[in-house]
């Protein structure tokens, strides 16, 4: 079944024919994780790096922010038998418009925070496609662990 992950959301797929997809990642980041033994996958679409700007929103929508969303996604997938050391991890997105002042550098800030979090927690990224000025769509096939990436104006490729 196709499971669509909206902005500030996360979904878990447990069936071999589940496909997790999130459309149109601009400055937002999509994080896909998959356990090849437990055959379970999760996809997160966070929009902003740091929940300290709005604690109320973080309560309502923990997946809006990297600092609240990423740990929660990992905790959730462990419930389905996934193990951290087996996880394949993919990150895509984090684009931004060109701006010398750095005011609109949300894409870059979104990239920096997840690198920092993964480094601190010993999570290795399997593959990534981040930055630039493109719009991305990512699909994770739960049965095969296959991850496909579609970039604005180009075809779909395997990541």
């Amino acid at each position: 079944m196709k499971l669509i992950v909206g902005i500030s959301d996360m979904k878990i797929g447990t069936k071999p024919d589940d496909e997790l997809v999130t459309y149109s990642l601009g400055s937002c980041i999509g994080v896909a994780i998959w356990d090849p033994v437990a055959k379970v996958g999760a996809l997160l679409h966070y929009m902003l790096p740091d929940s300290s700007i709005d604690k109320d929103k973080a309560e309502q929508k923990p997946y809006m922010f990297a600092d609240t969303g990423v740990p929660r996604m990992f905790k959730e997938i462990y419930k389905y038998g996934a193990l951290k050391e087996r996880l394949k991890v993919y990150i895509v997105g984090g684009a931004q418009v060109m701006d010398d002042s750095g005011m609109f550098n949300i894409g870059k800030r979104n990239q920096m925070i997840i690198r920092k979090m993964f480094w601190k927690n010993n999570v290795a990224v399997t593959k990534e496609d981040v930055g630039g000025a493109v719009n991305r769509t990512i699909t994770l096939n739960v049965g095969s662990g296959n991850v496909r990436l579609k970039v604005s104006g180009q075809g779909e490729v395997e990541l």
Partner: protein
């Protein structure tokens, strides 16, 4: 006919902005106007009437109870909100079907992007002294109207535009301009002019991709900022992606910080959920 002439020819044959909407907007500037006077005008446009009833119950507009008739809506809705509802109800017809498919926007995406920009424009308007929140909403809603009418031209030359953008590193809008002789912002300005919107709104539509828009007049800066944030959030972006520049330095003049931008983005997602009825209007 040259391509620019062909595009201008289409622009000249664009249907008028609904007369009823324009008339109601003028009436709303007159404090003596009553709900029944408004109803007498609006009811002649059944599409607008139906849309008003669909949208006014969106949580976004915060009415105290559900509304089921036009008269009831007009009594219950405050004047400022009524303007937003009427503009949205009247504009939706231009965004129906595959209005943005030349830009690789799926059905409904151009409208979704436009509503999101209108919502963002209105929320940030307190930072921009002298800008009327209603004008911000309307301009946000119409800033990409040029795409609706340029879509088929973009589709015809799609690969060339994409190559200039992603191989040669141009902004999508600059590639559009180079290859078609006209871009969607410029065409949008011409359409608003034809529809008799204010000079201020026309300029804001024309300049919404100008890299130095944030240094220009307040409404131009406001719409450019709102559009940039909505694109960053990935709402209705399409083939152009995030190409092009928007120099953020000018935001300081309006006392807007990077953290403010993030707070507005966080709000946008919840406000969009509360405006689902408005988002559904182009279906």
């Amino acid at each position: 006919m040259s391509r620019v002439a062909e595009i201008l020819n289409i622009a000249n044959h664009i249907p008028p902005f609904p007369k009823v909407a324009m008339q109601v907007m003028r009436m709303l500037d007159d404090p003596r106007v009553q709900a029944k006077d408004l109803a007498a005008v609006i009811q002649y446009d059944s599409a607008i009437t139906a849309n008003i009833l669909k949208t006014c119950n969106a949580a976004y507009f915060g009415l105290p109870r559900k509304v089921s008739s036009l008269d009831e809506a007009l009594v219950l809705v405050g004047q400022n909100i009524l303007k937003d509802i009427i503009i949205a109800s009247s504009s939706a017809r231009f965004y129906q079907g595959v209005a943005g498919n030349g830009y690789q926007l799926e059905q409904g995406e151009l409208w979704r992007h436009s509503v999101a920009t209108a919502i963002m424009a209105k929320s940030i308007s307190p930072h921009f002294r002298g800008v009327d929140p209603g004008a911000a909403f309307t301009t946000g809603l119409l800033h990409d109207i040029g795409k609706r009418f340029l879509s088929s031209f973009v589709a015809n030359d799609f690969q060339r535009i994409m190559d200039r953008t992603y191989v040669d590193g141009m902004a999508f809008i600059a590639a559009e301009h180079e290859i078609l002789g006209m871009d969607h912002a410029e065409l949008g300005g011409l359409i608003l002019q034809k529809w008799d919107f204010s000079e201020e709104m026309i300029r804001a539509v024309q300049h919404h991709h100008d890299p130095y828009a944030l240094d220009l007049e307040p409404l131009i800066a406001l719409v450019a900022m709102a559009n940039t944030l909505v694109i960053s959030a990935g709402v209705g972006v399409g083939a152009g992606g995030l190409t092009g520049a928007m120099q953020g330095e000018g935001l300081k003049r309006f006392s807007i910080s990077g953290a403010d931008l993030e707070r507005y983005l966080a709000n946008l997602i919840l406000e969009m959920e509360r405006a689902e009825e408005m988002m559904a209007l182009s279906n």
